[in-house]
Symmetry: C2
Subunit: 407 residues, 2 copies
């Protein structure tokens, strides 16, 4: 009997009808002979509602108490799921993060898992029980309740799969799997049956929203195979695993992202250390810089462009203007109306010419590329936000990702 | 600095505005120089709503999971209260039942407290923190979450007051204190400033609804002084303590109760053991018998009457008819339309004539007494339900309980 970890997100357990459907699917896996550990998120909007209550009482609620508060959400969904499973004639036992032995550091609101002491879970499994664990939460060494931050339930599931040496970690969600592009932008987007950790990491970092970056990193580090699939159709979805095991597609996805803004410092006299000085100053003000590009003109003047989350734009602009003045820059501009479109594919490493095709495709549509950045399996271009949808569709077609009839 | 335990019920913390008001009152006690431990119930109807969700999934939810579910309610209210207190510039730390060291037996849904390991609470108090504890919940020796059943938050508060040797346990509620009768029935009812444990126990057992029987028993056993008072006016309310310390009023309250029904077995040949046989059979069917009365007529035939909770009436009637047939009773009747009206007062012990005055008062109103039972500080009469209100008002006046202007 192999062990499966199943994780269900908030929309998958939103209300008694959904919880009943999930219970049936859990029991199905158990009856097929698997040991089953289930990780659940809070129902629907519960977490948001609890945070809203807290914020009515204090603009900056103490982090320890906020964690205590929001962890009530998973407590509710996990016990309801156990009740629904019991109604189907199986024994399910729920465990909070602390009961499941999920030991984290003490950083409330975004704690990191230090260790999993899974003895109680192993005991319950050995007794033939279905184990249901609250996602997103743990306990610090000084026995305070912590939460793992955004995507925390995915991380709980992957960490448990690693600790219990599960054959697979199934991430159930409200979409069918991981797509070659956002289906709302590209109706012909296809669900990918198999992706590498690296591809999914690049997708998560460039606007893909199915899996949280952190849980995929965790899965890669511990070699946990992920299966992202629908809790509504129950059809097989996307497998995420080590690249070695896979046939490499050249391009697996086109992602897009409008969450960033661009700052440009123009006409800086080109001396060693200008970039260092600017980005140290930005780091000191906790501005999270993503892409960076520096060009030197024939006149010995440099232009430096970089992107930051839109929320950081005011601080980034202020800091850049200050540094620009000190360094004699001719001007600083900022621009929130940009989009980043990225091509991602593990096969890129061994297929030259991907970048050329990408640039030709965009040029063919008259789309101007303002910045470029690359990794070994990704090429990102910054462009006007209003051209983004056209660019994503054009690239999706150019790289032959549009859905074809299954042979 | 003395330690105060304050307990707030569900209506007292129902919503952000109420939680803010409670936070202010808690901080006031702290700023007056007290160490403060606060015990909270779940907000408003939260517990009922969670139970309703569970019952949508299973008619008989597993008790362990039901406890896990409903304990989310106090988790929410206690962390919100801490957040509100922090906004007032004080440090408050919340503790679940298990974090507070409340060790119970393993009877889910109505666990009994075995032990309180209050080290964490003592540490927090020593650091000058306000301690907020989830009411109604604990942890069993095998580390499962348990709940204490009806009135459980009062019990948590009293138990913590005993364990921490608090000077006083304040029970905040939505009424001003303990009244000489239900103010909805007797508009002239007065709030009693002081009552003995025994009086409050008799009141709780005969229809009074302010304090749960169990928490008063606990307070009596450990000598914890209670102060029942309003979380809306914040005025002083009713003190409940050892009788020795008090001036004894003859009568402190008139209570009423319509939750029971009467069964009568008529014309049973009077032989030793008939009562034993009937009540053994009822006990075997888990019928909870309250009052019992047996008369023997001159013909050597006995009539046996007893009262049971209305819910138990069908079973009680069936069992009585069976036993009645075996014992040759002439008939068995049952009657749900009864009420019990009780007089309670510690001074009764030393004032003869209370019963006589009670019976005369009822006779003066033409109210027929169907059954009588007494304890050293209580006299209860069963009568027609439709005469109950008149009886309560008449007795309240006869024993000079109607409100008088404060001198």
């Amino acid at each position: 009997m192999s062990l499966i970890v199943q994780k269900y997100g908030g929309t998958s357990v939103d209300g008694p009808a959904r919880i009943r459907a999930v219970a049936q699917h859990v029991v199905k896996a158990r009856e097929e002979g698997h040991d089953v550990v289930v990780v659940v998120s809070a129902m629907g909007k519960t977490t948001d509602e609890l945070i809203k209550l807290a914020e009515e009482l204090s603009p900056i609620p103490p982090a320890r108490e906020l964690d205590m508060l929001v962890t009530a959400g998973e407590r509710i969904s996990m016990s309801l799921l156990c009740i629904a499973i019991s109604e189907l004639g199986h024994t399910a036992t729920s465990f909070t993060g602390s009961q499941a032995g999920i030991i984290t550091d003490s950083v409330h609101g975004k704690a990191k898992i230090l260790e999993i002491r899974a003895d109680r879970l192993r005991d319950a499994l050995a007794q033939g029980q279905i184990v249901v664990v609250a996602g997103f939460q743990g306990m610090s060494p000084d026995r305070n309740i912590t939460t793992l931050g955004r995507g925390g339930s995915d991380t709980t599931a992957v960490a448990l799969a690693a600790a219990l040496e599960a054959g697979c970690c199934e991430i159930y969600t409200d979409v069918a799997g991981v797509f070659s592009a956002d289906p709302r932008v590209v109706p012909q987007a296809r669900m990918q049956q198999e992706l590498s950790y690296e591809e999914v990491l690049e997708m998560a970092a460039t606007g893909g929203r199915v899996l949280a970056l952190r849980s995929v990193e965790f899965a890669r580090n511990y070699g946990v195979t992920l299966h992202v699939r629908s809790a509504f159709t129950w059809e097989p979805g996307t497998w995420v695993r080590q690249e070695e095991a896979m046939e490499k597609a050249v391009i697996s996805a086109v992602t897009h992202d409008t969450s960033e803004a661009k700052v440009t410092m123009l006409g800086v006299p080109d001396r060693p250390g200008i970039a260092a000085r600017l980005f140290r100053a930005l780091a000191d003000d906790a501005v999270n810089v993503d892409m960076i590009e520096q060009n030197v003109s024939v006149q010995g003047l440099a232009d430096i462009s970089f992107t930051v989350p839109k929320a950081d734009l005011p601080v980034a602009t202020r800091v850049s203007e200050e540094i620009g003045r000190q360094m004699g820059a001719s001007s600083v501009t900022h621009d929130p109306d940009i989009a980043r479109v990225s091509l991602i594919g593990a096969g890129m490493k061994t297929h030259p010419g991907v970048a050329a095709t990408m640039f030709e495709t965009l040029a063919g549509h008259g789309i101007n590329i303002e910045m470029i950045s690359t990794s070994s399996i990704r090429i990102s271009c910054i462009m006007r936000e209003e051209r983004m949808v056209e660019a994503v569709r054009a690239l999706h077609t150019a790289f032959e990702l549009d859905t074809e009839p299954v042979p």
